[in-house]
Assembly symmetry: C2
């Protein structure tokens, strides 16, 4: 068999609890949806998706759940040029490529790039967060 590191997948409810989030069914559904489909959906898109499994969930609740997940750092909020906020379950440091044709891609950011970027700032600045966005076109062919 090929697998070297096998983590038995921790149940979503436990992940939430471990991050101090009370695992309600709505939160689990929203989080699961982001883990499963790793494009960068907007709140509306998440709402549409989770409605399949949780037909009675409200849009306000989707916003609430997303906010809680972002607050507790289980999910990242991605903004680009006044578009609706998109949500991302990729916790590794990464940049985003926004394709003019639509769609947002994760671009891996090696630690040395982060270091270099921080080097642009005066010594004593306290940085909480770096955000790198590319905008352009992916090859059409």
């Amino acid at each position: 068999m090929a697998e070297t590191h096998t983590h038995k997948p921790e149940p979503v409810a436990d992940v939430l609890a471990d991050h101090g989030v009370r695992p309600t069914s709505q939160r689990e559904t929203v989080y699961r949806s982001l883990l499963q489909q790793r494009d960068h959906p907007t709140a509306d898109e998440v709402f549409a998706r989770v409605r399949e499994n949780a037909p009675t969930i409200s849009l306000a609740t989707v916003y609430n759940c997303l906010d809680v997940l972002v607050q507790h750092k289980l999910v990242k909020a991605v903004n680009f040029e006044r578009g609706p906020t998109q949500y991302c379950a990729n916790l590794a440091p990464h940049a985003h490529f926004h394709d003019e044709a639509g769609g947002t891609l994760d671009i891996d950011m090696p630690p040395e790039m982060i270091t270099q970027l921080l080097g642009l700032l005066p010594e004593n600045f306290d940085v909480k967060h770096i955000e790198v966005n590319f905008h352009g076109r992916t090859p059409s062919a």
Copy 2:
């Protein structure tokens, strides 16, 4: 005398014309305001500022002028976390530091940093624009 390169400051109207923008009094006023006060004002703030000189200008016109200036690359639009768009007359490539205490600072970006960032992308991606935002605190003392 110290000055080595002295450009006699080109009249704002000419700069606009040179960039294919018809120099109306409103556009001149808006652009001049951004050149003079180089913080990163929002459309509302620009509106408040230009009202001193052009008391009859409308907010819609301020938005129109800012859009035209951005389209013709005389001004950059800066977005951060769903806040109102801010406008920047600094045309040199630079990142932005968003202070939690309020205020946005320009952070110079040397060409080699741009090159490095572009190196993160697959070869054939066509990049129109890169955006780097820092978020944190500047030293309080």
